[in-house]
């Protein structure tokens, strides 16, 4: 249940950005979540609805954009998605790979007036 901590941070950051940009309200929060993050969207949205009460996010919607896992092979440079939990290169078989997408937990943008 770390969703609540995540949501509290989303509210804190977006309120700050709204104040800096002199917004009166926020209508949408666009959140990028990498697929490796274990976050339950329903719990997160429910927590969001509870924590946003009485703030300028009171009527805001949390939109979650899931990003699939992408790896880069450090041998041949191929960018690929792991299949069946295989994080080694699908082309040359090199086991030395880096996660280039899938760990995100990023507020991409907010919408409001």
């Amino acid at each position: 249940m770390h969703e609540l901590t995540i949501v509290e941070n989303i509210i804190r950051i977006t309120r700050q950005v709204a104040e800096e940009n002199k917004l009166n309200y926020i209508s949408t929060v666009n959140l990028d979540v990498g697929s490796m993050q274990h976050l339950n969207e329903e719990i997160m949205k429910h927590s969001f609805d509870v924590v946003k009460e009485g703030t300028l996010l009171a009527n805001a919607e949390l939109k979650v954009n899931r990003l699939p896992v992408k790896l880069k092979c450090n041998g041949c440079g191929l960018i690929f998605s792991p299949v069946n939990g295989k994080y080694f290169c699908s082309d040359c078989g090199d086991k030395d790979t880096s996660v280039v997408q899938g760990m995100e937990l990023i507020i991409r943008s907010i919408e409001g007036e």
């Binding site: 995540i6 977006t14 950005v17 994080y87 080694f88 086991k95 990023i106 507020i107 409001g112 007036e113």
Partner: protein
């Protein structure tokens, strides 16, 4: 209107984790963060690890527990500094709570800090504490499919310990399939098998701990 933000939600935790890491480095202290399910054997591993290394290095323990201080009590017999953090139900430690714990430990008198996180395979994974090594502990009774079910933890961990190997003859844990999944996910991980309660298989783990501690001392 739409305003670009592009901010990490956990920026505050990550920033503090960076501060913790520099603070540890400046004092030559190494920190390990143990993550596992409840009951996987983190405290028992510490109970068996501490007497073996206590003469070689100065150790402090940070115990994260949702409510009780039972784990900390089990370690009191070793006469080392122990800080108890009660998260009051929260499912993870964060870098701010570790920073507060540092204030109760004299870091100038320590070489190694062992952090036992709250028992949970998911939540603690998102929160960098500023540790040097993340240690994932899995017990055989939890099943061989855990690396593929919890890729974030098993991919990020620099060390994986498979505990309760004494139970392998009695349960249907497919060791080969487990090792294959782990290797697919994280081929460079340091891997150890042990039965902490029986005290078997700890040698390689202890050797590794002593080895990385020595490396830390190198300029």
């Amino acid at each position: 209107m739409e305003i670009k933000v592009l901010k990490n939600v956990l920026d505050r935790n990550n920033d503090q984790a960076g501060v913790n890491r520099s603070f540890l480095a400046s004092r030559g202290v190494m920190m390990l963060n143990f993550i596992s399910s409840p009951g996987a054997g983190k405290t028992t591993i510490l109970e068996k690890t501490l007497p073996a290394i206590i003469k070689s290095m100065r150790i402090g323990v940070i115990e994260g527990d949702a409510y009780t201080s039972k784990d900390a009590q089990r370690l009191q017999k070793f006469d080392i500094p122990i800080v108890q953090i009660n998260t009051e139900g929260a499912c993870h430690l964060d870098s701010a709570s570790i920073s507060s714990a540092f204030k109760q430990l004299d870091l100038n008198l320590l070489d190694l800090i062992l952090v036992e996180n709250v028992g949970n395979l998911i939540c603690p994974t998102s929160f960098d504490l500023g540790e040097n090594y993340r240690v994932a502990v899995l017990s055989t009774t939890e099943g061989d499919d855990k690396p593929s079910k919890y890729p974030m933890l098993f991919r990020q961990a620099k060390v994986v310990i498979l505990n309760k190997t004494d139970l392998l003859p009695y349960i249907n844990f497919d060791r080969r399939s487990f090792l294959e999944d782990l290797d697919n996910l994280n081929p460079s991980v340091e891997y150890f098998e042990m039965s902490a309660t029986e005290g078997t298989g700890l040698d390689k783990w202890l050797d590794w701990l002593l080895k990385i501690r020595e490396k830390q001392h190198l300029p």
